[in-house]
C-alpha cells in the first residue's frame, strides 16, 4: 500500500496533468486540474454527481478534447509526451496498448454480440495477434484471473451477470498489460457482496501487475480500499487532495467534511 517515496530512483511521473480545463460552453466541466501520478500508484477521484470527475477522466483518456492543459504520459519508446498533441493514430495505439479504460457500465466497454473469448482477444488481435490458439489460451488464462470459469469462454456477455460482465471488461482491458488504467465507477450498480469481490480482485491485480490507476468514484469505501492518494472535486475544481487516509480521517475542506460525514454507518 506504499506510494513511491520521493527521493527513490527513477522518479519520472507516469502521468503528469497540468492545468487541464474542459468547458461545456459557459459551464465548467473541470478547471485547472493538475497532479502527478507515479508508477504503481493508485489515485482516487471522489466527488458528488456533476462535480466533473468523469469529465476529467474522459479528458485525460482522450475521449474528448480539453480546452486547455497538458496530459503528459511517460511512453515506453519516447519518454514523456503530451498525449493531447499526439496524432490520433498514436493516441489510439496508446489506448489499446499502455492504457486501459474501464467503463461504469460494462455494456459500454464490451462487445455484447461477441463471445467472452473474442472480447478478451480483441486487443490482442488489434495489436497484431494472428494465432488463434495463442489468443484463445490467453483469453482462457485471463478468464481464470478474473474468476470466470473456462467453460464460459464461448458465451456472450449478455448471458453474464452484472458482476461477471464487469470482471470480463477488466480482463479485456488488462490482457495487453497496460501500465495505466482509467476506471469510471468500476463498482457502480453492483450489489455490495459483488462489489467486495470485485474490489478484492482489482486490488490483487493492481498490486501484482504494478499498475497505475486513476479511479473515479463517489463511493468512499472504494477509494479507502484501493487508492493511495485522493482528490476531492466539487463544481469542476479540486478542493482537496492528499494521501487517502489523511483526507478521509482528517478532512480540511468543508465539502470534504460533508462528504465524509454523509457516509452511512451500518
Amino acid at each position: 500500500m506504499m506510494a513511491p517515496q520521493v527521493g527513490e530512483q527513477d522518479m519520472t511521473p507516469l502521468l503528469q496533468v497540468n492545468g487541464l480545463t474542459k468547458m461545456y460552453g459557459a459551464r465548467i466541466g473541470c478547471r485547472d486540474v493538475s497532479f502527478d501520478l507515479y508508477p504503481g500508484e493508485v489515485m482516487g477521484i471522489v466527488g458528488e454527481s456533476g462535480s466533473g470527475k468523469s469529465t476529467l477522466l474522459n479528458a485525460m483518456a482522450g475521449h474528448h478534447a480539453p480546452d486547455r492543459g497538458e496530459v503528459i504520459f511517460d511512453t515506453r519508446a519516447d519518454g514523456p509526451q503530451d498525449t493531447l498533441k499526439m496524432s490520433e493514430p498514436e493516441r489510439r495505439m496508446l489506448g489499446r496498448t499502455d492504457w486501459a479504460f474501464v467503463h461504469q457500465h460494462a455494456r459500454d466497454g464490451l462487445r455484447m454480440s461477441v463471445s467472452a473469448g473474442g472480447n478478451i482477444g480483441e486487443r490482442l488481435m488489434a495489436v497484431g495477434g494472428r494465432h488463434y490458439g495463442e489468443i484463445r489460451a490467453q483469453a482462457a488464462d485471463w478468464l481464470g484471473r478474473v474468476e470466470i470459469s473456462d467453460s464460459r469462454i464461448d458465451d456472450r456477455p449478455s448471458a453474464f451477470s452484472g458482476g461477471m460482465q464487469q470482471r470480463l471488461q477488466i480482463a479485456r482491458n488488462l490482457v495487453t498489460g497496460p501500465r495505466l488504467v482509467f476506471m469510471d465507477e468500476p463498482t457502480g450498480g453492483l450489489d455490495v457482496s459483488v462489489q467486495a469481490r470485485l474490489l478484492d480482485l482489482l486490488r490483487g491485480l493492481v498490486r501484482e501487475m504494478g499498475l497505475s490507476a486513476i479511479i473515479v468514484t463517489h463511493d468512499l469505501a472504494v477509494v479507502r480500499l484501493l487508492a493511495d492518494r485522493l482528490m476531492v472535486m466539487k463544481d469542476g475544481h479540486v478542493v482537496e487532495s492528499g494521501l487517502t487516509d489523511q483526507v478521509l480521517d482528517d478532512p480540511q475542506h468543508a465539502y470534504t467534511q460533508l462528504l465524509v460525514s454523509s457516509v452511512l454507518q451500518v
Binding site: 490520433e88 489499446r96 462487445r111 488489434a126
Partner: protein, 321 residues
C-alpha cells in the same frame, strides 16, 4: 434501326441511360477507386429504373464504363439466364444498343452478381460487381464515422474478431461468402458476396470495379493487385467448394450449385457458371447426369435452368445493390 438509335433520335435517353455529366461523375469515382485500391469512394448514386437490391450500383458503373464498341455479358450467381441477368442485359441492349454475349471470352465488360467467371479474364476486360453492403466492418461496428476512422487508421483488429468468433463457434472459419480481403496491404475490402472459392481469383489481369448503389460507394481493384484473404496462422484461408464434380460437364475445378431434384432427396451438382458448363459440354465432357433425358443444351436451359432459379431464390436474402 436499333432500339437505341430510335431512343436517341427521340431524345428520350442518352447512350447507356445516364446523362454525360453523371457518367463523368461516376468515372471520376472509378478513377479514384483505381488509384486507391480497395478504398470506398463515395459517389452521387442516381435513381435507376429498378429497385435497390437489383444491381443499381453495378448498372451505374457499367453505364459509365460502356462504349458503343463494347460487348456486354451479364451474369447472376454465375448464370446468364436468370431474372437479374436477363433484365439488366435487356436494359443495356435497349438503352445502349451494345452487342451482348454469353461467352465470357468474347465480352469486354462483364457485370456480375455474386460470382467471378470460371474462365480466366484478360487485360482487355472489365468486371463490374454488384455490391449490397460495401463496408466489411458494418456488422461489427454500426457507426459509419467509426468505420471510416478505422479504415483511415488501419485498425482492422475487429475483422479478426469476427473470424475468431467463427472458429470458436464452428471449429473453423465458417464465413463462406463475402470473405474479407486485404488489398495491396492497406485496405480491408468486402469482395461483394462472392463465394470464398472465388477469392483467389481476385488477383487477376482484368480491371475489377465494385458499385454499391444504395450505399453510394464505388471501389476498385486494378489489374494484378495483391489481394489477400484474412486468416489466422493456425487456421489458414481455404477456398472451399462442394466436394463433387459437375453432374452435367464433369468439371472438378468449378464452383457448384446444389440442386434438389425431387422430394425423395435426390440432388445434383451443376456448375454455377453456365457458360463454362456449356462450353465444356460442347467440347465433349459429360457428367454423371449429362446424358439422361434431353440433349445437353436443352438440359441446361430447361431442367437445370429451372432448378437454378429455385436455388437463386434461396440465396436472395443477400441482395445485390
Amino acid at each position: 434501326m436499333t432500339d437505341h438509335q430510335k431512343l436517341a433520335e427521340a431524345g428520350d435517353y442518352n447512350f447507356a441511360y445516364l446523362d454525360e455529366q453523371t457518367k463523368r461523375m461516376i468515372r471520376r469515382a472509378i478513377l479514384k477507386g483505381l488509384a486507391v485500391p480497395g478504398y470506398q469512394v463515395p459517389f452521387a448514386s442516381r435513381e435507376m429504373p429498378m429497385p435497390y437490391g437489383w444491381g443499381t450500383g453495378g448498372v451505374q458503373v457499367t453505364a459509365a464504363t460502356l462504349t458503343p464498341d463494347d460487348t456486354l455479358k451479364v451474369i447472376d450467381q454465375g448464370a446468364d439466364d436468370t431474372t437479374n441477368a436477363v433484365s439488366i442485359r435487356k436494359f443495356f441492349q435497349r438503352t445502349a444498343g451494345v452487342a451482348t454475349t454469353e461467352e465470357t471470352q468474347k465480352a469486354s465488360v462483364i457485370q456480375t452478381r455474386h460470382r467471378i467467371p470460371e474462365a480466366t479474364l484478360s487485360e482487355d476486360q472489365v468486371l463490374v460487381y454488384q455490391v449490397p453492403i460495401p463496408e466489411p466492418l458494418r456488422f461489427l461496428e454500426p457507426r459509419e464515422t467509426e468505420t471510416r476512422k478505422m479504415h483511415s487508421l488501419e485498425e482492422y483488429g475487429l475483422m479478426h474478431v469476427k473470424l475468431y468468433e467463427d472458429i470458436s463457434q464452428h471449429g473453423d472459419i465458417a464465413t463462406s461468402y463475402a470473405y474479407p480481403v486485404k488489398v495491396e496491404d492497406r485496405y480491408v475490402m468486402d469482395p461483394s458476396p462472392i463465394p470464398k472459392f472465388d477469392n483467389p481469383k481476385l488477383e487477376m489481369a482484368a480491371i475489377q470495379l465494385f458499385g454499391a448503389g444504395r450505399e453510394q460507394r464505388i471501389y476498385a481493384v486494378p489489374p494484378y493487385t495483391r489481394v489477400v484473404s484474412l486468416d489466422f496462422e493456425d487456421y489458414p484461408f481455404e477456398a472451399s467448394k462442394a466436394d463433387h464434380a459437375c453432374d452435367l460437364c464433369a468439371a472438378e475445378d468449378s464452383y457448384l450449385d446444389e440442386v434438389i431434384l425431387d422430394d425423395a432427396g435426390s440432388r445434383m451438382f451443376v456448375c454455377s457458371d453456365t457458360d463454362y458448363c456449356r462450353s465444356r459440354r460442347a467440347a465433349g465432357h459429360v457428367g454423371r447426369l449429362g446424358e439422361t433425358g434431353q440433349p445437353a443444351e436443352a438440359g441446361q436451359s430447361g431442367e437445370a435452368g429451372q432448378s437454378e432459379k429455385t436455388g437463386q431464390s434461396e440465396k436472395t436474402g443477400e441482395e445485390a445493390a
